[in-house]
Amino acid sequence: MEMKKRILVVDDSASVRQQVGAVLASAGYDVVEAADGVLGGEAIARMPDLALVICDVNMPNMNGIDMVAAAKSDGKNAALPIVMLTTEGQPGLVEQAKKAGAKGWIVKPFKNEMLIAAVRKLVGS
């Protein structure tokens, strides 16, 4: 059987990590978690087999957009898709994330099937 694709969820809220993790697990993905931008960056460096990163914007220590910029400054992560998942939505902030190298922006609250559809489009089943 083929290895499950692995997705990193970075969010400072344990309940959001759990909720997102459960949705992704039910769709057949392997989910790992990190609690802020610094830990998320470390996890990306540690796990070269990640298929996708889903990342909050407002987090302590390092925010999500800075985390994307830091990860993308390493050429090894050029092909790694990172998607923001946040309640924020000002076009200015979205633009910053896009410039930093994020692949997309999902506005919370999300519908499970839409999250799964977006993930499938990026990484396949």
Binding site: G89, Q90, P91, G92, V94, E95, K98, A102, K103, G104, W105, I106, V107, P109, F110, K111, M114, L115, A118, K121
Partner: protein, 482 residues
């Protein structure tokens, strides 16, 4: 490849499925949305090659939809084509909303040609998407954009309205009153180049600190301050966040800078507000500069750089009224260059102009700063002496006469043009007006001409009044008598 021509068609009309089918027959992959917010959500979550939308739709217009898609990073580069009745104003509003084109309804051929053209011209998509779960979010976003657009246009209109206030100091005063109402700050400063000006709005308790900080932020000397507005509308916080500095530009030309020292906390909206008001301030500043320049030009005689007759008459009229009211002495000296016509005739008009320009330089240099010096017309000049009685006026006129006589005006052929002038002096008496004063000075000047030129003559009627003894010593009697 068909995926290269993926269209989101937003059409609420009954005929929408027909249109979708016809576009599919043309080779496009079409996703049909029957509601504008659904269409926006589809376009944002998976940006297509182009969006085609109706101009008139229930709840959200095509123009609003287009503005939203153009503002969102996911769809800002996706071409939007609006469709509707063929009327010039529809083309206008579509263009203003950022649509790539507007196609009249029912023109299938036009629509296909336009689609192919705008898709070919669009940059390739980087695939960035924004997903909203709920179509209500889209409506909220459109409402928020409308609020933002209204906010911006109201701010813009308020700042632009300052364009009528004429000169910089007044402009800055009104501008600071406006700015203090829309945001709070420690100080606000505007600097301009050509001419260099520096306006500052500060709390009176913090003036020195604000002046220093603002000059530093704008990169200008504190000595350039041309207007300081001090009131409690600016706050006197000891410290605050770094100043927000924005260029003031018009048509690629930098007119100056706007700096605002915000109070904590600084949010994105404050920065945006400063950006908008700096952008809109460019027009009023340019206008103020032009008005000031035209006012200056309207007051100045181009050849001599002195006040012209109109400006001089205004000043003298005010001086006459003031001097009469407070019984202050005032004297009026009119001088006319001797043999000027023959200078022009024999040496040419350039030589005549050189003589006039030389006198234009000499007179202010030989007068007090409180005197008003101007060209009355032709080769006639005026020196209006405030706080000066007849004896003082005679001394001043004689000094000017000697200075004119000593003037060296090169004739351009290695020689010099001899220059002298005849002077008429009139001193203010009760009931005088500008006209009566000029009339007496003119008669005295004529008498100086008749008397042999290059001399000072006091107006006859003034002589009937007692002449202080000092005058006789200062001026030869034969020059004084008519």
């Amino acid at each position: 490849m068909s995926d290269g021509k993926r269209i989101v068609l937003i059409d609420t009309a009954a005929t929408a499925t027909d249109l979708a089918e016809r576009l599919r027959m043309q080779g496009y992959t079409v996703t049909l949305a029957r509601h504008p917010s659904e269409g926006a959500r589809l376009a944002l979550s998976d940006p297509p090659s182009a969006v085609v939308a109706d101009l008139w739709m229930p709840s959200i217009s095509g123009v609003q939809l287009c503005r939203l898609l153009k503002a969102e990073p996911a769809t800002s580069m996706v071409p939007v084509i609006l469709r509707g009745p063929d009327a010039p104003r529809n083309h206008f509003w579509s263009e203003r909303a950022g649509a790539s084109d507007y196609v009249a309804q029912g023109r299938m051929g036009d629509l296909v040609r336009t689609l192919d053209r705008v898709i070919a011209a669009a940059p390739p998509s980087d695939g960035f998407f924004t997903t909203f779960s709920d179509e209500d979010d889209i409506r909220e976003r459109i409402a928020a954009r409308l609020d933002a657009a209204l906010f911006e246009s109201v701010l813009a209109a308020e700042v632009r309205a300052l364009g009528t206030c004429g000169e910089f100091n007044r402009l800055f005063d009104l501008f600071s009153q406006f700015a203090a109402r829309v945001t709070s700050y420690r100080w606000l400063a505007v600097s301009t180049v050509q001419p260099v000006r520096f306006g500052l709005h500060t709390n009176p308790n913090a003036r020195d600190r604000a002046e220093r900080e603002a000059a530093g932020a704008l990169g200008i000397e504190t000595s350039c301050v041309s207007v300081v507005v001090q009131d409690e509308d600016a706050f006197d916080d000891e410290v605050g966040p770094a100043a927000i500095i924005m260029p003031i530009e018009l048509g690629g030309m930098q007119l100056g800078k706007l700096a605002l020292a915000p109070r904590a906390p600084v949010d994105a909206q404050t920065v945006e507000l400063v950006r908008i008001i700096a952008r809109e301030l460019a027009g009023p500043i340019r206008m103020a500069t032009l008005v000031e320049e035209s006012q200056r030009l309207a007051r100045i005689d181009a050849l001599t750089g002195l006040l012209n007759r109109r400006a001089l008459a205004t000043i003298v009229q005010t001086e006459v009224a003031r001097s009469e009211r407070y019984a202050i002495p005032f004297s009026f000296v009119l001088l006319d260059v001797d043999h000027f016509k023959s200078v022009n005739d024999e040496r040419g008009h350039a030589a005549g102009d050189a003589v006039l320009a030389a006198i234009g330089k000499l007179l202010p240099a030989s007068s007090r700063p409180t005197d008003s010096v101007g060209r009355w017309g032709g080769e006639e000049f005026v020196v209006a002496l405030s706080h000066t009685n007849q004896s003082g006026a005679l001394i001043a006129a004689e000094r000017l006469r000697a200075a004119v006589e000593g003037l060296i005006v090169p004739d351009g052929r290695g020689g010099r043009i001899p220059v002298t002038a005849s002077f008429g002096v009139a001193c203010l008496v009760a009931g005088d007006t500008l006209e009566s004063l000029v009339d007496r000075a003119d008669r005295a000047m004529y008498a100086a001409k008749v008397g042999g030129r290059n001399r000072v003559v006091v107006a006859a009627s003034d002589l009937q009044a007692a002449i202080p003894a000092a005058v006789a010593g200062a001026v030869p009697l034969e020059d004084v008598a008519v």
